[in-house]
């Protein structure tokens, strides 16, 4: 204890030792080599923290800022030991030297500890090359989602366009009919106009009902996944639409390579229902409708084909309109223009595709890849 007090009290005292020049035999070359080298090391050690500090100032987002401060302190301390080592040639401040060495030792080990602590985190930092790869990947993802957003936007545009058109037409008619009523005094025509007004109101109501259907359809999750026995499902769809199918005298054939298939039950029924009904609706007036339902597996995917011998479609002309909301290709049959649109959405949402091949007056085949 006494030694410690004495050490601290005489921290700056130099009386007890000779200057280094007088201790031992130094040739001037040897001595100055030692002194100049020590000062050069010390000045370099003082310059490095300055540059580090400047770097830290400029890079405000720098991680591990505390370890940087610790390094600055460590380098300054190292520089001080070399500085004192040189000064000792004239001023034998061996106590201060010991104290600075001790201080440097502590700071050195703090730096070791600090570095050890942050090493795992530092390893997680991405290199510029890695960052570039990540950025490229994110850019690609962004482009993809941008494209799909554009597609959704386009669909929404089409939807709004179709909806507004189908609402506007009967309302425009009502406007015209009311205008006629105001100026028309002939009783006969008035009855006709009133009939047509009734019809327009019915059409507005019908359009609104259909729009509600579409909204319901977009919201339907089709998450009732189950292993569906295909014969049972087809039986059910046929039974649900017995009247329409029976009155068309359609012959329905089944070619099932698989017995069952895991899919949303309501979704599968929806697809079958729409394709079957389309085949029946657009039958050829001069022949008995023949509809073939095929299920098979190819490349690990389940496929459905619904082939008919109906009116057929001029695909070169109408191919791009087939699956568009509220588009109808035939004039003589009642249709809402929702069916094919809705099953396309359903199938695509589950990762599948739907396409059609057709020949006018020969028939159509719809292909579904589930």
């Amino acid at each position: 204890m006494d030694q410690l007090f004495e050490f601290i009290k005489g921290l700056f005292s130099t009386e007890l030792w000779p200057a280094r020049w007088s201790c031992g035999i130094w040739s001037p070359f040897h001595g100055w080599l030692y002194i100049l080298s020590s000062f050069l090391i010390a000045s370099a050690y003082f310059a490095i923290p300055l540059l580090l500090f400047r770097f830290m100032k400029r890079r405000s987002d720098l991680p591990f800022i505390r370890i940087f401060w610790l390094f600055i302190l460590f380098i300054l301390a190292c520089g001080s030991t070399h500085l004192i080592d040189g000064i000792i040639f004239w001023e034998p401040m061996y106590r201060l030297s010991a104290f600075v060495l001790f201080f440097t030792a502590i700071v050195s080990w703090l730096a070791v500890y600090g570095l050890f602590k942050i090493l795992p985190k530092a390893l997680e930092l991405k290199s510029p090359k890695q960052l570039e790869l990540i950025i490229n990947k994110r850019t690609r993802q962004l482009k993809e989602s941008n494209a799909s957003l554009k597609k959704i936007n386009e669909e929404l545009d089409n939807y709004l366009y179709a909806a507004s058109h189908d609402l506007k037409s009967p309302i425009n008619n009502m406007e015209g009919l009311l205008d006629l009523l105001k100026h028309d005094n002939e009783a006969l025509e008035q009855t006709l106009i009133l009939e047509k007004l009734d019809e327009s109101v019915r059409r507005v109501k019908q359009t609104i009902a259909r729009l509600t259907d579409v909204i319901k359809l977009e919201k339907s999750p089709y998450d009732d996944h189950a292993t569906n026995n295909l014969n049972v499902i087809i039986d059910e769809v046929l039974a649900d639409n017995f009247m329409i199918i029976d009155s068309s005298k359609a012959v329905i054939k089944r070619e099932l390579q698989i017995d069952s298939f895991h899919y949303s039950t309501s979704g599968l029924k929806q697809v079958l229902y729409n394709l079957l009904l389309n085949a029946v609706k657009y039958r050829h007036p001069e022949r008995v409708p023949e509809i073939t339902i095929r299920f098979y597996v190819k490349d690990m995917r389940v496929f459905l084909e619904v082939e008919d011998n109906g009116l057929g479609i001029d695909l070169a002309r109408y191919g791009d309109k087939m699956f568009v909301l509220f588009k109808r290709l035939h004039t003589h049959v009642e249709g809402s223009g929702i069916g094919l649109y809705s099953i396309k959405k359903l199938i695509e949402r589950k990762g599948g595709t739907i396409s059609v091949s057709s020949e006018l007056n020969v028939g159509s085949t719809f292909f579904v890849k589930f």
Partner: protein, 140 residues
């Protein structure tokens, strides 16, 4: 003064909507815009109609050939734009003189632009009122 009445001989109306056809016919007749009208609910039939009556040399049949068409856009099957594509392919002098006016519920600028690109004489948003016909008569 003659020009004020029946500026057109025959107007062909192409629209799948019966009520709309009825209204357009009423407006034309009331305003004596044409001597007669012919209504078709299907664009395909309209093309066949033009093909049948506008290529003849026989004057009596040419009487039926329209000198103006009011054309709807949204029709099942062949729509108004598809019709225009086929219609513009006719090379007969008589047919190229037929004026086509869009008469549609759509006030969408895209539809208007598309129609203009396909060379229509005008674009009218339904219903066809007396005022709109008066404008047409002044222009005729």
């Amino acid at each position: 003064m003659m020009n004020e009445f029946n500026p057109y001989n025959c107007i062909l109306l192409v629209d799948d909507d019966d009520t709309s056809l009825f209204l357009t016919e009423m407006a034309i007749n009331r305003n004596k815009f044409a001597k007669h009208t012919h209504s078709l609910t299907n664009a395909n039939e309209a093309l066949e109609f033009i093909d049948a009556y506008c290529k003849e040399i026989d004057e009596a049949i040419l009487e039926i050939c329209p000198d103006l068409i009011f054309l709807d856009i949204n029709m099942p099957g062949m729509d108004g734009f598809d019709f225009l594509d086929s219609f513009n392919k006719f090379s007969e002098n008589r047919i190229s003189k037929i004026k086509v006016f869009m008469l549609t519920s759509s006030d969408n600028p895209k539809d208007r632009e598309m129609a203009e690109n396909k060379g229509v004489a005008g674009y009218i948003v339904k219903p066809l009122t007396t005022d709109k016909i008066k404008e047409l008569i002044q222009a005729a």
